[in-house]
Symmetry: C2
């Protein structure tokens, strides 16, 4: 029989304990921050009926990137590529029973069929944070404040990132009123703006001209003015006083009051997904080695209504684990990666194994994490295992120690050793 491949499925990652500890650090940090804001955790199935994405997630995601198949009962299903349609479905299903504002979060895995590359894996994990039932900008302010609080909780300092902000109503005005594009051309132009950082200026202008058509070729000038604007005041005069700009100003005012610095207006920010209806934003890494979007979000007031419920307004965001990992790496913010096991019990000779296990049980009942070496190997091999696992304390248990009731506890880090009773050890770790 030929042997099986030990490699994981293409584009996915095995998380061994060392990698999983880093992932857990990211998950725990997300959890802590959103729970401080009163968000409650939910869970959802990994499979959904395909229709919920077909409606609003955008053609590329559904047709090219979704893992879709037909189940044994003939249903066309997809492994979720994102959470927003799912949580909208869940809110629609319990719209009468939920308490509003509903503040909800989840940490879950997703799959997209993409060419694997740095920061992009076929299976990835996201925090999804969403507020339902508040149609004022107070909700948008809160979500963006949480984005800011999360990055700060990871140790990021001012200037490590910016929060780029735009509004889909303003985008719509730009495309339809200011540039005079019809719905199809506007949609194409939005997608082109989305790709702007991935292509050069010449390619951008060529494609923009194609969308504009010859009779509007002069509008390329207008587009370049919009791109050049670093603030609302630098926008063309005709765009500065539309109502969507007032909305953006109100949002910035709220962010200032909430102590969020580092937010900037960006008229070219679109965010790919079709369901956004108001504020859109993204956190952007300013580090030269990782100069890219970290995550984003925005308002999507139309999605819950697709599930046969009255519309319920919604705003949310979704940071992913890989992007956060890259961010921590380039900014030197990776945490110390240490084992959660407190003590490794080295069994000095076989006849002490039962006693070693008894001592371990006693320490565990005090809430200490204790691993016992049950292999009967030589001492040096047992010690090597503990060191390899990154466990900081060794406890030696042999027949003589059992006779005296005192045991050697040795710290790997500084090689310091002390003789202690089991109660003394329990006490040491409880403080």
């Amino acid at each position: 029989m030929t042997s099986l491949s030990p490699q994981p499925y293409k584009g996915t990652r095995d998380y061994y304990p060392e990698q999983k500890r880093l992932q857990n650090y990211i998950f725990d940090t997300w959890k802590r921050v959103v729970e401080r804001f009163g968000y409650e955790e939910y869970g959802a199935p990994i499979l959904e009926n395909i229709e919920i994405y077909a409606a609003k997630s955008g053609q590329e995601l559904v047709n090219e990137q979704t893992y879709t198949f037909t189940d044994r009962g003939g249903r066309t299903v997809a492994i979720r590529p994102e959470m927003t349609p799912t949580i909208s479905r869940m809110v629609a299903a319990r719209r009468q029973e939920l308490a509003y504002p509903a503040r909800l979060y989840s940490i879950a895995n997703f799959m997209r069929y993409e060419r694997p590359q740095r920061g992009r894996e076929r299976e990835f994990w996201q925090l999804n944070v969403d507020m339902f039932g508040v149609d004022t900008l107070a909700a948008d302010v809160e979500i963006i404040s949480i984005a800011d609080a999360i990055l700060k909780e990871f140790g990021a300092k001012k200037g490590d990132y910016v929060l780029r902000i735009n509004n889909r109503k303003f985008v719509h005005y730009m495309m339809a009123e200011y540039l005079g594009l019809d719905a199809v051309a506007a949609h194409q132009m939005i997608k082109l703006f989305d790709r702007r950082n991935k292509i050069d200026q010449q390619a951008f202008e060529e494609q923009a001209l194609e969308i504009l058509g010859s009779e509007q070729a002069g509008d390329l000038e207008k587009i370049n003015q919009i791109i050049a604007a670093q603030s609302i005041e630098q926008l063309p005069e005709a765009l500065q006083h539309v109502s969507a700009i007032e909305e953006i100003k109100t949002l910035f005012d709220g962010l200032n009051k909430a102590g969020v610095d580092g937010a900037i207006f960006d008229a070219t920010l679109m965010r790919g997904l079709d369901y956004y209806t108001g504020t859109v934003f993204e956190a952007f890494d300013t580090h030269p080695d990782n100069n890219r979007s970290l995550f984003g979000g925005g308002r999507y007031d139309g999605l819950v209504g697709l599930f046969g419920a009255e519309p319920i307004s919604a705003v949310g965001m979704a940071p992913g684990n890989t992007m956060i990992e890259n961010f921590l790496e380039v900014h030197g913010l990776l945490p110390q990666n240490t084992s959660k096991t407190d003590v490794y019990v080295v069994v000095v000779s076989d006849e002490a194994l039962d006693d070693a296990r008894g001592i371990a049980a006693e320490l565990r009942s005090s809430g200490i994490n204790v691993e016992v070496d049950i292999t009967g190997r030589k001492l040096d091999k047992q010690i090597k295992t503990a060191v390899k696992k990154g466990i900081d304390y060794l406890l030696f248990v042999g027949p003589q120690d059992v006779a005296t009731g005192e045991y050697s506890l040795k710290r790997v880090e500084n090689e310091q050793e002390e003789k202690l009773t089991v109660e003394q050890i329990a006490e040491k770790f409880s403080t």
Copy 2:
């Protein structure tokens, strides 16, 4: 446009905050117990190449229950129906780098295409706990001790469950030597034993006779003797002294020393999966309303070797969330289900919103979970929301309170109210 269905995919469950809190209680309890024994968490992809199940998981699981499909690159993949092949693959891939004994655990979701019923969902969550690299029964003792410790940590008392124990080597001896069955008939008989509690005695005997064939029909008597045996001593004399029975006795001896009561020998216990090679066991609920297997495990020494590595011995188990939920329910062990949000800030009038948010930010910086009502609704509606969410403390913030610097903190449970400064509130929750 017709509206989309708000129902989850058939056989899966949406976990709203109330249900998710119970799931988290189960996950946290699992985590705490296994980490006390020094197990480290890992993570693995939701998709695997189909071959890793084809080898050893059994025909039924692969052909009838697995979610299998072909990806956009032509690979045949499966949503994992269990973790054992995956963690064996992962150990094989890093067999040189890992420290042994490798004690590993994960909490993850799985899918099986089954008819949904009580305790059985198409998507379910499992704790997987496995030890690699120890071929003595000391490892089996530890895994079964952890099974026992988990049920006790959930509040189970002696007699609420039994741990049924058998050994595949003994099963093999019974089938091949004692009953004289060939490999095919032995496999069929094992599957029949597995179904024994789902069919009546007559159906069992008919099917047993079919497997035995007419020339061995007399062996039905032997089978009924095995089924009737409540202990090793009650087995037919010819089975009592085989080496596999010595192994079982050694295991029981270890379990007694480890303080595991409630373990019993059961010669009819098979456990469905084909990869088990030694000890098999299951935790069985003794409650009349849930008289069924809760979870199981065993030794599977041959699996890592399938991935081109030298064989590495392994023993593990996998409790699932739904079975544990049912167990907690029938035994009255469900935990109190309360919100993790400590304080709900009721904003008395709109002009106090900024102050309310400032106070919330201050309390959050002390580690308190605070939700602010940003809706501008009437007081009674805000209070109703907090109560519906199960938050126990209301903090009232109005312009007058801001002026005095003292705020009403009201406990929902007993309606007691006190006037406190922000620092006093922070202090109250930190103790």
